[in-house]
């Protein structure tokens, strides 16, 4: 296949992704401001939409859908540590880990508004 035909299809795909990203941005704003969902539902919905947008950017613009195995390995390992970074402090906060009560005892000392 000639190079220009190949890039022509690529460009078409990029514009489709661009359209998708714009639509999802509008959905994010409308759902957060006008649907009046309960907080947990709103958070989950916003994160799901953001993840879909991230998949579009990563998959198509960063070519992750057709990348080499070693890149998936890097990202897989990073994602595991990233999840740990997000979940372990929360688990500690909720007392799910050994010694979680230490953080709870400090809670009264926190001033949330400042």
């Amino acid at each position: 296949m000639p190079e220009h035909t190949h890039t022509g299809k690529e460009k078409q795909m990029y514009f489709l992704v661009f359209g998708g990203l714009l639509v999802f941005t509008v959905i994010t704003v409308v759902s957060a401001l006008y649907l009046k969902l309960p907080l947990i539902t709103a958070v989950l919905l916003a994160l799901v939409i953001a993840s879909v947008k991230a998949t579009l950017v990563g998959g198509f613009f960063m070519h992750l859908f057709s990348e080499k195995q070693i890149v998936y390995l890097f990202l897989g390992i990073t994602f595991i540590f990233f999840l740990g970074l997000l979940t372990l402090p929360l688990a500690q906060h909720h007392g799910m880990l050994h010694g979680g009560q230490v953080l709870h005892s400090n809670k009264s000392g926190m001033d949330p508004s400042h």
Binding site: V29, A50, A54, I70, L85
Partner: protein
């Protein structure tokens, strides 16, 4: 002569710069991950937390989101233009990417200015502290992207005459970084402005 700037290594299947940028982006994920984790912890530990939309300007945030998404498209199109051997179009798209990035920063600076006028500083509240930290760090990344892209648009583009494949790879690398900056904003926008 630096090896593997164009051809891929047998063991990784990647040219070296691509391997390097993915490792760098992995470290960036951990950097922003730490800050997102801090945000979650601060919010989970707070007795009350303001809805971002009640403090921040959502239409301005939405506009900046659209600007950054558009700049991602122009970035990838600049790389496609090089693959088509169309240097003029490459310059147009990369120039547009830089222009959009500058526009993003100008809008952001007006947003910051409005907050300062209303007496909202990082010290004002936990929410403002994490807002300025996250968007400030993201803004620094935008500035970094502008510097790199401006180099490739002007002095760095001389490489196109000597080593077009290597230059095309450089733009791919710059693009991967730029898309990552866009990707971070995709999460920052709903988390800070809407929830």
């Amino acid at each position: 002569m630096i090896p593997y700037t164009v051809e891929s290594r047998d063991d990784t299947g990647l040219y070296n710069a691509k391997m390097g940028i993915w490792l760098f982006l992995a470290s960036e994920m951990m950097l922003f991950g730490g800050l997102f984790s801090s945000y979650i912890m601060l919010r989970a530990g707070a007795f009350s937390w303001p809805v971002g939309a009640s403090i921040l300007n959502v239409p301005i945030g939405t506009l900046n989101t659209i600007i950054l998404i558009t700049s991602s498209v122009t970035m990838v199109l600049s790389w496609t233009a090089l693959k088509e051997r169309n240097f003029k179009r490459f310059r147009m798209f990369l120039g547009s990417t830089i222009g959009l990035a500058l526009l993003f920063l100008v809008i952001k600076s007006f947003e910051y200015g409005a907050k300062f006028e209303h007496g909202l500083f990082p010290r004002s509240s936990t929410f403002m502290a994490i807002y300025f930290t996250l968007t400030g760090l993201h803004g620094l990344h935008v500035i970094g992207g502008i510097i790199v892209n401006a180099y490739f648009l002007l002095p760095g583009s001389r490489m196109w005459q000597r080593e077009p494949e290597r230059f095309t790879n450089r733009i791919e690398i710059a693009g991967l970084y730029w898309h990552f900056v866009d990707l971070i904003w995709i999460f920052l926008f709903p988390v800070l402005y809407l929830l």
